[in-house]
């Protein structure tokens, strides 16, 4: 059966060739950039309105900001979409020049990466429509309740701190439920598995504009001083300076403010 053998061999060879040729080896890296002429940034596009995909296109405040910034630096922005937990390893493994994923700045993260802050955001308490658990905001009314937060997000540390406050006040503990993305937390609230969710103010605005019939906010905004920033490799001062210069240019010519207006963020988010 020469024909059959040939077919089999052909199938094997073409399969192997397909696997090997598809991923082209990436180009040799210059000391400062992963790919010369490009600003390769990592983003977890599951955080509306900062970075998300719409009709297959990456979009959001952060995406617009980095596009404007790259233009100032005469670089081509090259996004890499991945899960949030893959970002810091990829930056440290020199797969990315920077992380641009609305990453909030905390001391633990600052030990691993250097930050260039560009925005400050607060958080809100989100509950199911009608507020069945009568939660009045980020206070002791949360004790004994289930709170959904994003794993590793600032909201998680806030919820853990609140749990301590409840315990100190001799009330029952908060059950902190951590989810991989803000969307999962929202689903948990909608399904009444969680009684409340902590969400960044811009995230809350986006959620309510899409699903205003399912959710509502309660209580005032809190911790409005949380800074978010681009992350660069520890000690990569060149990149840090580059980003800071570019950012200052954007502030000076008004494009920074324009973006804040475009995405309907409150004026308090600006740090300049």
């Amino acid at each position: 059966m020469p024909k059959k053998t040939f077919l089999r061999r052909y199938a094997t060879v073409s399969l192997a060739a397909l696997c090997l040729s598809l991923p082209l080896l990436s180009q040799a890296a210059t000391p400062s950039l992963v790919t010369p002429g490009q600003l390769t940034y990592g983003t977890a596009a599951t955080f509306m309105p900062f970075e998300f995909t719409q009709n297959g296109q990456l979009t959001g405040f952060d995406i617009d900001l980095i596009t404007a910034l790259s233009k100032k630096l005469a670089l081509k922005p090259a996004p890499m979409s991945m899960e949030f937990k893959g970002l810091i390893p990829a930056l440290q493994g020199k797969r990315l020049d920077i992380i641009n994923s609305a990453m909030y700045i905390n001391p633990t993260r600052a030990q691993q990466v250097d930050f260039v802050p560009y925005l400050k955001i607060g958080s809100r308490v989100i509950v199911a429509k009608g507020n069945p658990e009568k939660i009045t905001g980020r206070d002791l009314s949360l004790c004994g309740k289930n709170i959904a937060v994003t794993l590793g997000g600032i909201e998680e540390s806030q919820a853990r701190a609140d749990n301590q406050k409840c315990l100190d006040a001799k009330k029952s503990a908060i059950n902190v439920l951590t989810f991989p993305a803000a969307t999962d937390s929202a689903v948990a609230v909608a399904q009444k598995r969680a009684d409340a969710e902590y969400l960044s103010t811009p995230g809350a605005v986006a959620l309510l504009s899409e699903k205003g019939d399912t959710f509502e906010t309660t209580g005032p905004e809190f911790e409005a001083e949380t800074h978010i920033g681009f992350a660069v490799r520890k000690g990569d001062t060149e990149m840090k300076t580059l980003l800071e210069t570019g950012l200052n240019d954007l502030v000076a010519d008004g494009s920074y403010q324009k973006l804040i207006n475009k995405w309907q963020f409150p004026a308090s988010v600006s740090i300049f």
């Binding site: 991923p23 596009a45 893959g86 797969r95 993305a181 929202a186």
Partner: protein
């Protein structure tokens, strides 16, 4: 829950591309995984002392660590040793290395299931070692390993979702990204689930066809309809 939206997601190019990526990763990783597994299974059977020791170390390492860790390691740590591959290659590499360890055990069980008396009989007929392997052991072993390999293939289809952590745009990542923009979680996941089921169906049909092709007894029977064939292949006979 809106069925229209599920339908819309199903037909969207983003989901389709995600499904193609998932299929491509699965098929490539399976191919290299089986090759790897075969090498390891033969190493375990080999007469040289180093063979089994090497195979044992490999199995210990790749079955003993989470696949997610292996994926991140290949993608982010190897570049510091000067080995730099694209995200897709890294994904296939990590999954094949992991798959190889499991395939090795499946293949070894198949090889050992062919009794040694049959090899002796082959030798008595004057066959060479290679001929015995090709004409006696492998045809029988292939039939034995197919059902567990089918399991392994389908579980690989789903573990391919883990590679989203290294920026490979596979099906589940697309679904998550879509859901996070529209907050329509169930619709996006349903669409992804339908794609996964469709791919699983293809794999199961392939398995049923292979089982028939490899078994001379089944081959002689009149062809069964597709559903009958699927039902038979998944039930004991």
């Amino acid at each position: 829950m809106s069925l229209d939206l599920v339908w819309q997601y199903l037909l969207s190019p983003a989901f389709f591309q995600g499904a193609v990526m998932t299929l491509l990763i699965t098929v490539c990783s399976l191919f290299f995984g089986v090759v790897m597994g075969l090498v390891l299974a033969l190493l375990q059977e080999s007469r040289f002392r180093a063979g089994p020791v090497l195979a044992f170390f490999y199995l210990w390492l790749f079955r003993g660590t989470p696949v997610l860790f292996q994926i991140i390691f290949v993608y982010n740590v190897l570049p510091s040793f000067g080995l730099r591959f694209s995200a897709f290659t890294c994904a296939v590499m990590a999954l094949s290395l992991n798959e190889g360890a499991y395939m090795a055990e499946i293949l070894r069980s198949g090889l050992q299931a062919v009794r040694s008396g049959q090899r002796t009989a082959g030798m008595a007929l004057g066959m060479t070692q290679g001929q015995i392997m090709r004409k006696i052991v492998l045809p029988q072993a292939a039939r034995i390993v197919l059902p567990p390999m089918g399991n392994q293939m389908i579980s690989m289809l789903k573990s391919s979702a883990l590679v989203s952590v290294i920026a490979v745009q596979e099906l589940l990542l697309i679904a998550n990204q879509t859901a996070s923009a529209s907050f329509r979680y169930f619709e996006a996941l349903c669409a992804a689930g339908i794609y996964y089921l469709a791919l699983t169906t293809v794999f199961m049909i392939g398995q049923a066809w292979l089982e028939r092709a490899l078994d001379p007894k089944k081959r002689k029977k009149p062809a069964l309809s597709l559903t009958e064939r699927l039902l038979r292949s998944s039930s004991p006979q």
